[in-house]
């Protein structure tokens, strides 16, 4: 039986699109007012302190509003994550607010003459439909058949709503497609995660080792502030990266490692520290277990063997290893952030955690530190008693639901069917890798809702699309995360929502009425926030004015002779992990070589650029001005061998003969190894509704057909894909 392609991607829909395209042509950018001179902009009608969401670092921004338009965004002076400064993306936030391609109305998928289309609809109709369909699906298949995917803290209201309704499957690609391996590795070693913002004292490090980290290209504001501070204070930097990154240009040693062999190098440094007894002997004796087993496990990782695996000369391996010993507790091996590379990621992160332990930098200046929350208060919401099954990961150490596993289960329906997705602010088509699986899963769905600001690709597959307003037009929950300076910050609207868009909290509240939970939320968000703030000793009016409240820097460092206790089974830092061993994994990280390049193919590596946040900013006309498309970095000599010309456009074809949908500009450069190519993630959009981003550059996600899944926690390693070039 031919499979009916029910969920055909809606490319162009009816009249409302044409009108929005017309609107974009006459759109007057408020920050480029014709005939304006700078002096005219000196005074804002009001300055609204709020929280940025061009990325997920959550800096404090001041929105400068004149004539009800945000014309400028600056860093909030008092906010500990911005310190008055902003990254390029934060500076260009108006480009999202005034993006002419924003979703303007709720949309419902309809079929006209056999063709799927979106029909503009009212909020009432859209939300009624969602409530009805959820009821039907959960009655038929149980509440466990609905899964929610999200990215961003505006998702909290929907999580509250669904938890009260009985839906329990929440997943964020920021776990298994990004930071998950780091979380689990540090929990296995220290009993707690590194957190975000990371609990590391980079600013005070004297010796900093970065592995494939894009600090300086990844512009998490305070992380880069700390990095530059460290450099200015004379910190020595070592960068392990197949590519000469921005960070590498600041480094004393750039180690252009053979991709995929990082764990071998880390093991060798552990070997050197123990073999030469230059680790922190006293700290390890008092606070760690498993040193002997660790030594047994890395005994074979000699610098000579490691050279053969990594291509890093023995002298350099030894020099850095000994420097680590010399700098000791003031040295730091940075745990990284996006770490799903080769499928051995938890073990690689374990090796990083172990190395830091050996340096004795735990709660020491320049090392791993302790952070605190401003307040332990958390609003309480009811959770449904009759909730369905809890999603059970097949990966023993997955503490969050791997998004890729939901995709798999949506296809297999094993052990139970997943029939509906609610997707908040994450473009799964570009974020999950293995698009074929994502598409197949989508075909198996009975119903999908997408909440987004822009017509990202995922919205084209949804049955209902709900236009959320941007971060500059809404309240969200309070930001009360752990940080070295405990703080409490607000996101509040700088201007009223444009078009027929609504804030997430309002959408969730209206939906809660339709879903039979009318008393779940306060009637208005301001009362809700004010009640919470009163519990924390403040008020909404205070926070609306100040934007942020903070306390004295917390106790970052341990005291001399302080007894440490870790939340691991042994109560100590676990250099060898019995838990991993019991689950059938290596107690001490072992190195297994990654697949080699097929002849004529280059390993595809991807990363970040300072002015973009994944695909979320690709359509931002302000940010796109300096970087409208990504380029393919190819080593100059390797490129000449392949007869590539600098500046020409090529398609990429991967090891499974999947061809990129779009073409990319070749950049021949000395700044990368000859066996790898590199591109910035987030380009190559194929939804024509995003007019600026449409078909600019290539999406690496198109070519990540092979996921190397980490057997420990389900992270999807994406760097074992290889590409070659095609002109046609």
């Amino acid at each position: 039986m031919a499979k009916v392609n029910r969920r055909q991607f809606i490319k162009i829909s009816s009249a409302f699109l044409a009108s929005s395209a017309a609107a974009s042509q006459v759109f007057d950018w408020p920050f480029q007012v014709k005939n304006a001179i700078a002096e005219e902009f000196l005074t804002a009608d009001r300055i609204v302190p709020t929280t940025c969401e061009i990325c997920f670092w959550r800096c404090g921004v001041d929105a400068h509003v004149r004539d009800e338009k945000v014309y400028k965004l600056t860093g909030q002076a008092n906010h500990p994550l911005s310190n008055g400064r902003l990254c390029p993306r934060g500076n260009g936030g108006q480009g999202l607010l005034y993006d002419p391609n924003r979703l303007r109305h709720p949309l419902i998928r309809v079929t006209v003459n056999g063709k799927p289309q979106f029909r503009k609809t009212s909020w009432d109709e859209a939300l009624t439909l969602i409530a009805e369909r959820f009821q039907q699906i959960t009655e038929q298949y149980g509440t466990e058949s609905v899964a929610m995917f999200s990215h961003g803290f505006g998702a909290s209201f929907f999580k509250t709503l669904f938890s009260a309704y009985g839906i329990r499957t929440f997943s964020a690609p920021s776990y298994a497609q990004c930071r998950g391996p780091r979380t689990e590795a540090f929990k296995l070693t220290y009993g707690h995660a590194v957190g975000s913002p990371e609990a590391i004292d980079v600013a005070n490090s004297k010796y900093l080792v970065l592995l494939g980290s894009h600090l300086g290209e990844n512009m998490h504001n305070t992380a880069v502030q700390d990095f530059s501070k460290a450099i200015s204070r004379g910190c020595k930097v070592v960068v392990v990266d197949p590519r000469y990154s921005t960070a590498a240009s600041k480094a004393e040693h750039w180690l252009p490692i053979k991709p995929g062999t990082d764990l071998a190098l880390l093991r060798s440094w552990i070997h050197i520290l123990i073999n030469e007894k230059i680790y922190d002997v006293e700290f390890i004796e008092n606070n760690a277990t498993g040193l002997e087993e660790l030594w047994e496990g890395v005994k074979d990782a000699t610098p000579e063997k490691t050279y053969a695996l990594t291509g890093i000369p023995v002298e350099q391996i030894v020099a850095v290893g000994r420097d680590l010993g010399r700098y000791g507790s003031s040295a730091l091996i940075h745990p990284g952030r996006h770490v799903t590379w080769y499928g051995d990621d938890t073990q690689r992160e374990r090796a990083i955690a172990i190395l830091n332990a050996l340096l004795g930098n735990y709660q020491m200046p320049g090392g791993l530190i302790q952070q605190e929350k401003y307040s332990s208060y958390k609003p309480k919401f009811p959770v449904a008693r009759n909730a369905g099954q809890q999603f059970k990961s097949r990966y023993p150490f997955a503490s969050s639901v791997p998004a890729n596993e939901i995709v798999e289960q949506t296809i297999s329906a094993d052990p139970y069917p997943v029939k509906s997705w609610f997707v908040y602010g994450t473009n799964l088509i570009h974020s999950l890798g293995d698009q074929r699986a994502t598409m197949e899963a989508i075909q198996n769905l009975d119903f999908m809702v997408a909440v987004d600001v822009l017509p990202a690709e995922i919205t084209g597959y949804a049955d209902v699309v709900l236009p959320e307003c941007t971060y500059l037009e809404r309240y969200d929950d309070l930001d009360n995360r752990t940080y070295r300076i405990p703080y409490l910050a607000i996101r509040q609207p700088a201007v009223a929502p444009l078009y027929d868009s609504k804030p997430g909290h309002e959408i969730a509240r209206l939906l809660s009425m339709k879903m039979g939970l009318p008393d779940l939320f306060e009637a208005d968000i301001e009362t809700y926030l004010d009640k919470q703030l009163k519990e924390m000793g403040s008020s909404l009016s205070e926070l609306k004015k100040s934007g942020v409240l903070k306390k004295e820097e917390s106790d970052l460092y341990r005291k001399e002779g302080e007894m440490l206790r870790f939340k691991t089974p042994s109560g100590k830092i676990e250099l060898a992990s019995q838990r991993l061993k019991d689950a059938g994994f290596d107690a001490v990280p072992q190195y297994y070589p990654p697949p080699e390049n097929p002849p004529g193919y280059f390993r595809m590596l991807y990363g970040r650029a300072p002015m973009h946040t994944f695909g979320r900013t690709a359509n931002n006309r302000v940010l796109g001005e300096l970087m409208p498309e990504n380029e393919l970095w190819v080593n100059e000599i390797a490129g000449h061998d392949m007869k590539l010309k600098h500046g020409e456009y090529v398609y990429l074809v991967n090891q499974d003969q999947v061809k990129s949908r779009t073409r990319i500009k070749v950049r021949l450069t000395q700044r990368i190894r000859p066996d790898a190519v590199y591109l910035v993630h987030g380009f190559g959009h194929t939804d024509p509704r995003m007019e600026f981003a449409f078909r600019r550059g290539v999406s690496d996600a198109d070519l990540v057909t092979k996921l190397s899944v980490d057997p420990i926690m389900g992270g999807t390693g994406m760097n074992n894909n290889f590409v070659t070039f095609s002109r046609t």
């Binding site: 002096e39 965004l73 530059s228 700044r671």
Partner: protein, 181 residues
């Protein structure tokens, strides 16, 4: 009476990561039209794999002491503002582009409305006691506006123990951007 200012800028290329926050902040602050900028990032890469160096620097008008744009401006639009900066009086500018040709640093462009435009060190902010937008936003604290006539020691402290370079000094214009290596 307070001493006259003589503004200059010190730019730390070691701290700078070339992120372009300065460019975007300037564009918003000064409503610079699409396709143009008053400041920009330069990347100087030398060597070949794997022995490479790269310098990142934020660049803009040098506010020269002996500025050819002022010399060659036929209308007196480009002028010394008396605080060490070079400014443009838009009412006097005819958009003739003599200054664009004269500037060794390629720091100017013609605004679509018809006048020459360039970095002003955010003069309107300086007058209010604020720092230029680029300096304020820089996440790496790489940009420093200094007053060369001041005896506050800030300029000297920044340059202490650091190799300092200036651009196209042989043009003899007395540029006032200092790059710390």
């Amino acid at each position: 009476m307070s001493r006259k200012k003589n503004y200059a800028m010190v730019i730390d290329t070691r701290a700078c990561v070339g992120c372009s926050a300065c460019v975007y902040a300037c564009k918003s602050e000064n409503s610079v039209p699409e396709g143009f900028c008053r400041d920009w990032i330069e990347q100087k890469i030398q060597g070949s794999f794997p022995n490479l160096t790269m310098e990142l620097r934020s660049n803009r008008c040098q506010h020269c002491e002996d500025a050819p744009c002022v010399t060659y401006c036929p209308t007196g639009s480009s002028h010394y503002a008396g605080d060490g900066t070079v400014q443009i009086d838009r009412d006097l500018c005819t958009g003739c582009k003599a200054c664009l040709a004269a500037c060794p640093y390629d720091a100017r462009y013609i605004h679509p409305i018809g006048y020459a435009d360039k970095c002003s060190f955010c003069q309107h902010r300086l007058k209010k006691g604020l720092q230029p937008a680029c300096v304020t936003t820089c996440p790496t604290d790489a940009l420093h506006l200094v007053d060369l006539n001041s005896n506050d020691g800030i300029f000297e402290n920044l340059l202490e123990d650091r190799k300092t370079t200036q651009d196209i000094v042989h043009a003899g214009t007395g540029p006032k951007l200092f790059w710390l290596q």
